[in-house]
C-alpha cells in the first residue's frame, strides 16, 4: 500500500465507510454496473456511481437538476456546472454554499429536502464525480473551423482533402472515446513533432472543449461501412499498476507523493473532463518529451485500454483533496463561527475529537442534508450568517476535523 493511499484511507473513519472500502469497486467514471470483473486489491474511489445515479433519481434530485442533460432543467446541470474539476471536498463546499438558496427554492415548490444515508451519499458523490469527467459531444461546426485554425489540415487530410503528410483523420472517425485519441496522439506524437518541427509548424494548443469539438467534427465523417469503436470500462487498479510499470511515477507525483520532476497529477488544477485532459496532455507534450529526453527516459507506449486504465486511475486519485491543512482548518473553524455552536455543550453537534465529528466529505455532506435545514433555522434565530467556504477551505476544515479525531 502506498503511503499516499494509506493517508487517504486514514481519513475514512466512519465504520460505514470502512465497509465500503472493503467492497471492491470500480473507478467511478467507468464503473458501469460495478458487479463482475473485480480483480481484487484496494480501491480508492468509494461508492458505486450507478447506484448513485439511482439515488439521484430516487431522491428527486433529478426533478430540478440534470446531469449532462438527463433530468430536470430548473436547477444547474451538475454534470456541467461549475466548469472546473471538483474534488469530493469541493463538491461538499459547493453544496454547502448553495444549500440555503436551494432549500428556499424547494420550500417554494413544496418539495421537502431529501434525507440521505452515508452510503447513499457516497454513491451520489461517486456518481457526480464520475459523470463530471465525461465529455459531451462537441460542436462539429466549431471543430471543423478548429481544424483549419490549428493548421491540422496542413498535414492531415480530412476525408481525402488536405495535407498528405499525416494520416487521414477520417480513419479515426469511428473512435468514440477521447481516450482513444489521447492514445493515438501519444503513440504517434514523436514523428509528428519531428515533422512539424521540420515544417516549422508550431505545436497547436487545445483549450477546454477544443478536443471534443474536433472529435465531433471528425465523427460526422464516419464511413458507412465501419461501426463505432468504444472503450470498455477501465480498471483503475490496472491503471495504478501501469502508472508504476510504465515509469510515470518516476517523474509524476500524485498528491505530493512520488515524482517531483513533472507536474503533480493529483492536483485539482487539472481539467475536468477526459477530453480536456487529453488536450492538456497534448499541450504539454513537447515540454514533457524534452524533459524525458533530458533524463533519458524512454517514451512509453500505451494501448487503447491501457490509456483508459491509466487515466481512470489519475481521475480516481483526484477525488481526494490532498492539500488540506489542519492548522488552516482550525482557523477557519473558529473564524467562520462553526466553533461557536459545534463545541462541547454547544448548541450544535459537538465536533470535538471525543465526539467523533468525522472528517471526510461524505459525513459532512450527509449531515448537511439531514440536519442542515434545522441548523439553518437555528442560525437564523441567532442571526448567525451561513458560512461560505472558498476553494480549499473545506479541505482544510476536513483535515482539521479528521486530525482532531485521529491525532
Amino acid at each position: 500500500m502506498q503511503p499516499s493511499l494509506s493517508a487517504a484511507q486514514r481519513r475514512w473513519k466512519t465504520p460505514a465507510l470502512a465497509a465500503f472500502l472493503c467492497v471492491p469497486l470500480w473507478f467511478a467514471v467507468l464503473c458501469g454496473t460495478a458487479t463482475a470483473q473485480v480483480r481484487g486489491g484496494a480501491y480508492f474511489l468509494p461508492g458505486d456511481a450507478k447506484a448513485g445515479m439511482q439515488t439521484f433519481f430516487d431522491k428527486g434530485c433529478a426533478r430540478c437538476h440534470a446531469v449532462l442533460g438527463e433530468g430536470g432543467r430548473t436547477a444547474p446541470d451538475l454534470g456541467r456546472a461549475p466548469g472546473g474539476h471538483l474534488s469530493a471536498a469541493e463538491m461538499v463546499a459547493a453544496m454547502w454554499n448553495h444549500a440555503p438558496a436551494m432549500w428556499e427554492k424547494m420550500r417554494a415548490q413544496h418539495l421537502p429536502p431529501p434525507k440521505f444515508t452515508e452510503s447513499e451519499m457516497t454513491n451520489l458523490f461517486a456518481f457526480l464525480y464520475s459523470v463530471r469527467a465525461l465529455d459531451e459531444p462537441g460542436d462539429a461546426e466549431r471543430g471543423r473551423k478548429l481544424l483549419s485554425e490549428k493548421r491540422c489540415v496542413d498535414c492531415h487530410a480530412v476525408g481525402g482533402q488536405g495535407g498528405r503528410a499525416g494520416p487521414d483523420l477520417k480513419s479515426w472517425a469511428s473512435y468514440r472515446n477521447p481516450v482513444s485519441w489521447i492514445q493515438a496522439m501519444w503513440n504517434h506524437a514523436q514523428p509528428m513533432e519531428a515533422l512539424m518541427a521540420q515544417r516549422g509548424v508550431s505545436w497547436p494548443q487545445f483549450q477546454e472543449n477544443d478536443m471534443a469539438d474536433l472529435m465531433a467534427y471528425i465523427r460526422t465523417l464516419a464511413p458507412a461501412s465501419k461501426g463505432h469503436v468504444y472503450l470498455r470500462q477501465a480498471d483503475s487498479e490496472a491503471g495504478r499498476r501501469l502508472f508504476r510499470e510504465k515509469g510515470c511515477v518516476a517523474c509524476h507525483g500524485i498528491g505530493g507523493a512520488g515524482g517531483g520532476h513533472a507536474p503533480d497529477l493529483g492536483t485539482r488544477a487539472l481539467p475536468r473532463t477526459l477530453g480536456q485532459f487529453g488536450g492538456w496532455m497534448w499541450n504539454h507534450a513537447p515540454a514533457m518529451w524534452a524533459s524525458m529526453k533530458a533524463q533519458h527516459v524512454a517514451r512509453p507506449q500505451f494501448s487503447n485500454q491501457e490509456m483508459a486504465d491509466l487515466i481512470s486511475y489519475l481521475f480516481a486519485e483526484r477525488y481526494f483533496e490532498r492539500t488540506g491543512n489542519a492548522a488552516r482548518g482550525r482557523r477557519g473553524f473558529e473564524e467562520k463561527g462553526c466553533g461557536s455552536c459545534h463545541r462541547p455543550g454547544g448548541v450544535g453537534l459537538d465536533l470535538s475529537p471525543r465526539r467523533g465529528g468525522g472528517g471526510s466529505p461524505i459525513p459532512v455532506a450527509t449531515a448537511l442534508w439531514n440536519h442542515g435545514p434545522v441548523m439553518l433555522e437555528k442560525m437564523k434565530e441567532r442571526a448567525v450568517p451561513w458560512p461560505r467556504f472558498a476553494t480549499g477551505e473545506i479541505a482544510d476544515l476536513l483535515e482539521y476535523l479528521s486530525a482532531r479525531t485521529n491525532p
Partner: protein, 796 residues
C-alpha cells in the same frame, strides 16, 4: 246442508295448503336444479406454477418484446416486455391476440400431403419424417439435375437471423431466389436510393422531430413498428413537457391516424406529390428552406450545367414554374391558405420531417411521388440529422458470401423497367413464361401471396403450374391449399424467436427468445427443418450449415454480436440513462464479459441493442455519386442510360406529380383499400379478438365494410348497414355499406385483410378488396399499385 265447516274440509284445506307450499318450493328449487342440470355452472380454470418468460412478437415485422405468463404448460397472458426498446412494455392489439393464434382451433395438426390434384386437393396426414424427406428428396433431385437455381423460397414476415440462415442455405444449395413479400415502403425506399444513394432501410428519428408531415402514412394504424410509433406519439403529447411536435396527416380519408393527428389535410387522392411540391414552392419563395444545407449538401437545386456544358433544369425552377401555389391548390383540392400555412409551419419548425412511405402503396407512379415528398426533407435539412431521416444502422453480423457464386439472376427480376429491381409480384409471370428459367419448386414460409397480393389470382394459376410447392404454414391458407406438402409451423411462443431492427426504427436491435411453451401439434420450426434438409442434402450444403438446430445458429450469431464490442442488453430505464451518459463520451460498459454471458442475458431480457446516436454522420446518410442529396437523381439518369433509353427531358430525373388514372365510364367511384390496425398487413382476420375491434369508428365487427360518404350514399340510395355490391372491371364483391363522413365523396374504401377463402372460417368473412383491384405497376420500378381502380356501387 250444513253451514259449518267440517273437519274433512279442514283437512282438505290443510292438504291443499301443504301441497301448494310444497309445489312452490319444488318449483323454485326445481327451476334451479333444472337449470343447473341443463347447463353446468362452473368453468374451472386449472392452476399451476406461474412463470413469466420473454418472447418476441411474430405477428408483424416489428418484433416487439413480449412477456408471457405461463401457468403450468399453458400460456395465459401476453404482455409487453418493459425492457424492450421497441415496445417498452406497450403492445398493440395484434400482439395480444397472439394467444388466440397459439390456441387456434383451425391450426394444422400434422404435416399434410396432397394426394389429389392441385385444383382439388385431397389431404392426407403424414409423419414429419415423411414430410421432410419428401421436400429434401425433391431438393436433392433438383440439385442433382442442375436445377438448383429453379428453387424459390418466399418468406412471409422477414426476420433477421432466420432470413440469414435461409439465405445461407439457399446460396449453399445454389439458388439466388430468396424472395420476400413486398412492402408499400418500397416506393419510398426507391426514392431514397435515387436521391440519397442509400439502399439500406431508412429510419426516422421521430422522437426528436418537431414537425411531421405524413403524406398518407398510416402512422398509427400498423405502419413501421406500430408500438414504437404509438409510444413516440404519446411522448409528443406528454402533458408534462408540452406538446412540442406537430403532426399533420395528409390523406384523402379521415383515418384514425388523421383523426389523432394535430391537423388533417384532405386532398384529392393521388395528388400527394403535387402538394409536396406546392409546399416546396412556398418554402422556396419565402426562403424558409435550410439554405446552408441546400447549398452545401444537395445537388440539382439550382439550374446547372453538366461536364459537357449542357444546361439542366434545377429543382427550384421546376417547382417555381410548374407547382405554383394556386395551381397546386387546384390540382390537390387543398385550399391555398392551408398549403401556405402548413408549409410555413414546416419551414419554421426544425427538425421537420416529411414521411411518404406508405405501408400500402397508394401513390400511383409512387417513386416519383416519394421523391417529391423526400425533397421536402432536403429543403428542411433533415437528412442524417437528429429528428430527421436516418439510415437504419446495420446489425454487426457477417453476411457470409456464397461458397460459390451463383451464375443465375433472381427469377423475379424486372429487367424491362428503367430501374431494375426485384418484385415478388413478377413471379407468376416468370413461372408461367418459364423465363428467365423454369421454376421447379416453390417453398413458402408463412407467406400467403395468393391472398395478400393484388395479383393473387395470377399467383394461384402460377402455383398450379409449378412442379413442386411446399408451404410452412400454421394454417391451411389459400397458398398452402396449392401445395404438395404442408408443414405445420409453430407460432412464436413455441419456437426460438428472433427479430432484427424493426422497420423505420432508428436503432439496431436484435431480439432473441427461447420457446415459451412446447410446440403444439408437433409443429416444428422452419429453421430447424431447413437445417435438417441441409443435413439430408449433405456435401457443401451441410458443410455451410454446421448447426444442430436453430438455437445453435443463434448462439453462434450472438458470438458475432459480442465481438462487435458495442451495444447493450435490454435493460431498465436507469441502466439506459447510465449507458447513454457513458456512450455519449465513448465508453462502453457491458454487463457481460463473454459471449456466453451475453447469450444468457439476451435470453433472459429479450435481446440486445445499440442505442448509439447516428445522426450527423453524413457518409452514412448520403452515398450518391455527388455525395450530396440529389434533387436531380443522377442515379436515375445513369440507370436510364444503362437501360439504353433516351434521357430526354430533365424532368424525368426530378420529382414530379405522376399522371392520375382516369375514371372509366360507368365506374364513377375510386376504390382505395385501407389498412386498419387490428388487421394491419392483411393478417389477423382469423383471430376473434381482432375481428371484434376492426372498425371501431363505424362499429364494424367481424365483417368488412365499405366506407362511403353519406352524401354519395344518399345519391345512390344506400342506407347505413345495407348490403351493396362493389364492382370494378375485374370483379365484384358484396359488402355492408357504412356511411362515414370521413370518406371523400368520390372515393370509397374497403379494409384489407378480409375475405379469406381458406385457413380459418373466421377469416373467411367480408370481401378482399385486392380481388377487385386492377393490376397496375408503376413505370419506374415496377412496383405494384393498389390505387387507381374505379368502381361502381349499387344496392343488392
Amino acid at each position: 246442508m250444513s253451514f259449518q265447516i267440517n273437519r274433512r274440509d279442514y283437512l282438505r284445506l290443510a292438504a291443499g295448503g301443504a301441497l301448494g307450499t310444497a309445489t312452490s318450493g319444488v318449483t323454485l328449487k326445481g327451476i334451479s336444479s333444472f337449470n343447473a342440470a341443463l347447463a353446468s355452472e362452473e368453468v374451472r380454470v386449472p392452476g399451476g406454477p406461474e412463470n413469466w418468460s420473454p418472447s418476441v412478437c411474430w405477428l408483424c415485422p416489428a418484433g416487439c418484446g413480449l412477456k408471457v405468463r405461463t401457468i403450468g404448460t399453458r400460456a395465459v397472458k401476453i404482455q409487453g416486455n418493459p425492457l424492450h426498446p421497441v415496445s417498452r412494455g406497450g403492445l398493440c392489439p395484434k400482439a395480444l391476440a397472439g394467444l388466440q393464434e397459439l390456441n387456434h382451433p383451425d391450426r394444422l395438426r400434422a404435416p399434410l400431403k396432397n394426394t389429389g390434384t392441385r385444383k382439388s386437393p385431397q389431404w392426407r396426414q403424414i409423419s414429419w419424417e415423411e414430410a421432410v424427406t419428401t421436400v429434401a428428396a425433391k431438393l436433392r433431385g433438383l440439385r442433382g439435375a442442375g436445377q438448383a437455381h429453379g428453387v424459390v423460397w418466399i418468406d412471409g414476415p422477414e426476420r433477421n437471423l432466420r432470413s440469414r440462415l435461409v439465405r445461407r442455405f439457399l446460396s449453399a444449395y445454389g439458388s439466388p431466389n430468396y424472395l420476400t413479400m413486398p412492402s408499400g415502403r418500397d416506393a419510398f425506399q426507391t426514392a431514397v436510393y435515387l436521391q440519397q444513394g442509400v439502399d439500406q432501410p431508412v429510419a426516422y428519428d421521430l422522437e426528436n422531430t418537431r414537425y411531421l408531415l405524413s403524406f398518407g402514412v398510416n402512422l398509427l394504424e400498423g405502419w413501421g413498428s406500430p408500438v414504437s410509433l404509438m409510444r413516440v406519439f404519446g411522448r409528443w403529447r406528454d402533458a408534462a413537457s408540452g406538446r412540442h411536435t406537430k403532426f399533420v396527416q395528409i390523406e384523402p380519408r379521415f383515418s384514425i391516424t388523421a383523426a389523432r393527428a394535430d391537423e388533417w389535410v384532405s386532398l384529392r387522392p393521388g395528388t400527394e406529390a403535387a402538394l409536396a411540391l406546392g409546399m416546396a414552392y412556398v418554402l422556396i419563395t419565402e426562403g424558409l428552406y435550410d439554405a446552408a444545407f441546400v447549398r452545401d449538401r444537395t445537388f440539382g437545386f439550382e439550374d446547372w450545367k453538366d461536364a459537357a456544358g449542357k444546361a439542366h433544369q434545377g429543382f427550384r425552377s421546376l417547382v417555381l414554374s410548374e407547382y405554383r401555389l394556386n395551381d397546386v391548390s387546384e390540382m390537390t383540392g387543398v385550399p391555398a391558405e392551408t398549403i401556405l400555412r402548413v408549409a410555413r409551419e414546416f419551414g419554421h419548425n426544425r427538425p421537420a420531417l416529411a414521411l411518404g412511405d406508405h405501408q400500402t402503396s397508394t401513390l400511383p407512379g409512387a417513386p416519383y411521388a416519394a421523391m417529391a415528398v423526400h425533397s421536402l426533407n432536403a429543403l428542411a435539412g433533415s437528412i442524417g440529422v437528429a429528428g430527421g431521416v436516418l439510415v437504419q444502422p446495420e446489425l454487426p453480423f457477417h453476411e457470409e458470401e456464397a461458397s460459390r457464386k451463383i451464375p443465375w439472376p433472381r427469377v423475379d427480376e424486372t429487367p424491362e423497367q428503367i430501374f431494375p429491381g426485384h418484385q415478388l409480384a413478377r413471379l407468376p409471370q416468370a413461372i408461367r413464361s418459364r423465363k428467365p428459367y423454369p421454376v421447379e419448386a416453390v417453398l413458402l414460409h408463412q407467406a400467403n401471396p395468393v391472398f395478400s397480393l393484388p395479383n393473387g389470382e395470377a399467383f394461384r394459376q402460377a402455383l398450379l403450374e409449378t412442379p413442386f410447392v411446399a408451404s410452412f404454414s400454421t394454417f391451411l391458407d389459400e397458398t398452402a391449399m396449392l401445395a404438395d406438402v404442408v408443414l405445420p409451423a409453430p407460432t412464436g411462443l413455441e419456437q426460438w424467436q428472433e427479430a432484427g431492427s424493426p422497420p423505420a426504427f432508428p436503432f439496431a436491435v436484435q431480439s432473441i427468445s427461447p420457446p415459451v411453451i412446447a410446440a403444439r401439434h408437433g409443429a416444428r420450426q422452419a429453421a430447424d427443418v431447413v437445417l435438417e434438409i441441409a443435413r439430408f442434402l449433405g456435401g457443401p450444403v451441410a458443410a455451410a450449415l454446421p448447426f444442430d438446430n436453430f438455437e445453435a445458429y443463434l448462439r453462434k450469431s450472438v458470438e458475432e454480436l459480442f465481438a462487435a464490442q458495442t451495444g447493450a442488453v435490454f435493460s431498465t430505464g436507469l441502466d439506459e440513462t447510465w449507458n447513454r451518459l457513458l456512450e455519449r463520451s465513448g465508453w462502453w460498459s457491458p454487463t457481460y464479459s463473454n459471449a456466453e454471458e451475453l447469450w444468457e442475458q439476451m435470453k433472459e431480457r429479450g435481446g440486445w441493442w445499440e442505442a448509439g446516436n447516428l445522426s450527423g454522420e453524413w457518409e452514412r446518410a448520403v452515398r450518391t455519386p455527388s455525395r450530396r442529396f440529389e434533387f436531380y437523381s443522377q442515379t436515375l439518369e445513369r440507370w436510364t442510360r444503362a437501360a439504353g433509353r433516351e434521357a430526354g427531358d430533365d424532368r424525368r430525373f426530378l420529382p414530379q406529380q405522376p399522371a392520375l388514372p382516369k375514371a372509366a365510364a360507368g365506374y364513377p367511384l375510386l376504390l382505395l383499400p385501407m389498412e386498419v390496425l387490428p388487421l394491419a398487413g392483411g393478417a389477423g382476420g382469423h383471430l376473434p379478438y381482432l375481428q371484434q375491434i376492426a372498425g371501431p369508428h363505424v362499429f364494424a365487427t367481424w365483417d368488412s365494410w365499405l366506407e362511403i360518404n353519406p352524401v354519395t350514399a344518399h345519391k345512390l340510395g344506400i342506407a347505413d348497414g345495407e348490403k351493396v355490391w362493389v364492382e370494378s372491371r375485374r370483379g365484384r364483391a358484396q359488402v355492408r355499406a357504412r356511411l362515414y363522413a370521413g370518406a371523400r365523396p368520390e372515393v370509397v374504401h374497403l379494409p384489407l385483410g378480409y375475405g379469406h377463402t381458406a385457413g380459418s372460417p373466421w377469416g373467411c368473412r367480408g370481401a378482399n378488396p385486392l380481388a377487385l383491384l386492377e393490376e397496375q405497376y408503376d413505370p419506374l420500378a415496377g412496383l405494384p399499385q393498389t390505387t387507381g381502380t374505379h368502381v361502381k356501387v349499387y344496392r343488392s
